[in-house]
């Protein structure tokens, strides 16, 4: 704790606070309502993911990745299995690729819905939050139908997935998408175009593109700053290169490029893009056995791999080092929310306490992933 000047006050936001999205403590130095410095204190949710991983076998790491980013567990699993398959040089059957992409995109929609809804809640609008939760529930129902779990799936395995899709999944999913697409318009009318919401978010918490890159901000936050960077397009993994979709970037239509509204808006647009990918994937999905490529025993060759994938929060990287045994030598997770949070101090200086909440919400952090 530094020296406090006479007219400055240190305020602890969290660890128990409605808007820190978990157990995060922000040590905020304020001058009245104006914030002059923020020191985030992490680690309240540290569960030793990396240490755990060194003590369990490769397939047993997957349930732990679920618990890192618990709002997008499918994408967490996806990143890990993609890295593992790169390390072991496994080619998975096409159906598995399609299933993974369907699950990943559905989970992206679910995660973005939660991010947007909670953002509305941070700004003070309660109702859109519940509308979005209502629709997210339907996605979770589909996950439950597929793998039996609603939040922590352990669905993707190295070389395959744990279950094949249920029989009517395509029909159910298309039904959901048909129901869901008009809802986006309603969210926009209710929250996005609301003048108060725009006033609260536009021009607030601007992250210029170079600052964003320097801080390693990725995903929708980086695209909100106008940088067209999406791992799905630029370093395609799985079969993302087969699908037609756009990368929405922020335009600053209501304020400055890179403000909170842009980050929010990019997420909203990405939901539509995910719907687009889903429709293509559901149309083309081939038949096949999803367990064909499962290795009998996961014992990767000696070596290391760093692979990043696009989770809903940004570039989710796994650095896996194998020493030839069934137990990983080192697993490092580069979590996107960790890097996004690191720029909070620089971005929120000079803004008000209410804006800090707005900025923090727009970064869409998940503490499970930051603290690991």
């Amino acid at each position: 704790m530094g020296i406090v000047q006479g007219d400055q006050m240190i305020l602890n936001i969290g660890p128990q606070h409605p808007s820190t999205h978990g157990v995060l403590r922000l040590e905020v130095r304020t001058d009245g309502e104006i914030v002059s410095e923020i020191k985030p204190h992490l680690g309240y949710l540290h569960r030793c993911f990396e240490k755990h991983s060194e003590n369990v076998t490769y397939e047993q790491v997957i349930p732990f990745t679920d618990r890192c980013d618990y709002l997008a567990s499918m994408n967490s699993n996806f990143g890990y299995v993609v890295a593992m398959e790169e390390l072991m040089e496994i080619k998975v059957p096409e159906r598995v690729d399609y299933i993974r992409i369907i699950m990943g995109e559905l989970n992206r929609i679910a995660s973005h819905l939660l991010a947007l809804g909670v953002y509305g809640l941070d700004i003070g609008a309660f109702t859109p939050f519940l509308y979005m939760f209502r629709d997210r529930e339907r996605i979770l129902d589909m996950f439950e139908l597929t793998c039996g779990a609603r939040l922590l799936y352990n669905y993707m395995w190295v070389g395959g997935v744990s279950h094949d899709l249920p029989k009517d999944f395509e029909k159910i999913c298309i039904g959901f998408l048909d129901y869901f697409e008009p809802q986006i318009k309603e969210y926009n009318n209710l929250l996005t175009y609301n003048k108060i919401f725009i006033e609260r978010t536009a021009d607030v918490g601007v992250i210029p593109a170079d600052v964003a890159v320097s801080y390693g901000v990725t995903g929708p936050n980086l695209r909100g700053s106008g940088v067209k960077w999406d791992v799905r397009k630029d370093e395609p993994y799985s079969i993302y290169d087969r699908f037609e979709f756009d990368i929405p970037v922020g335009e600053g239509q209501f304020g400055t490029l890179g403000d909170c509204f842009d980050r929010y808006w990019v997420r909203m647009l990405e939901i539509s893009q995910s719907v687009k990918i889903l429709r293509q994937a559901l149309k083309d999905i081939p038949d096949g056995n999803v367990h064909q490529a499962l290795p009998k025993k996961i014992r990767p060759p000696k070596g290391s791999v760093y692979r990043r994938t696009e989770s809903p929060r940004g570039d989710l990287g796994y650095y896996i080092v194998s020493d030839g045994t069934p137990v990983p030598y080192r697993v490092k997770m580069r979590s996107p929310a960790f890097t996004a949070l690191s720029c909070l101090d620089e971005v929120s200086r000079g803004w008000m306490i209410s804006d800090v909440i707005a900025i923090l919400g727009s970064l869409d952090i998940v503490l499970g992933e930051i603290d690991r």
């Binding site: 990396e50 240490k51 170079d210 320097s214 940088v227 290391s304 080092v321 890097t339 620089e346």
Partner: protein, 166 residues
């Protein structure tokens, strides 16, 4: 540029800093720690290399007797090429120059690696533990780490062992 070309540029610029290491793949390059800040400044600002994104810093323990390593995954947004830089540290006194002011994310990545491995980044303005509590003892991800038995008077109870759980 491919990794080989990047390596060639590095070798041309900093011939003294290159280290041969057969364990590494062609995407990785090992450098000596003493010139690291200079090299980092060069590869970030050089228009041909222009590594403006630091993807990840991974601490790495090569074994109970081997050196510690820091691995930097660098990526260029402009040229879309990447390289992984490996720097080995002495196990007793691991230290290397901090690149926190070049890539701002290095701040937290270095703090994390410091927290887990005890590698000291010299020149870092705020090198504290980040995930573990400030008064935690030991460096958890080192291979020779042994957990604390008590922490602030809290005894790590082995209840399960008493009940016959292993």
């Amino acid at each position: 540029m491919t990794s080989a070309e990047i390596k060639a540029v590095l070798e041309h610029q900093f011939p003294a800093a290159m280290v041969e290491n057969e364990d590494l793949t062609e995407k990785q390059v090992e450098l000596k720690g003493n010139q690291w800040l200079e090299i980092a400044t060069f590869i970030k600002n050089d228009p041909d290399l222009s590594f403006d994104q630091l993807e990840c810093i991974t601490g790495y323990d090569t074994g109970e007797d081997g050196p510690l390593q820091t691995r930097y995954n660098l990526h260029s947004m402009e040229h879309r090429h990447k390289i992984e830089v490996v720097i080995s540290h002495n196990r007793e006194n691991p230290n290397v120059a901090s690149i926190e002011q070049l890539w701002r994310i290095g701040d937290w990545f270095e703090r994390e690696t410091y927290d887990m491995f005890g590698i000291v980044y010299e020149g870092h303005r705020d090198l504290r533990r980040i995930l573990c509590p400030d008064d935690w003892e030991g460096w958890p991800l080192r291979k020779d780490y042994e957990g604390q038995e008590t922490y602030h008077g809290i005894v790590v109870q082995k209840m399960k062992e008493e009940e016959g759980w292993e």
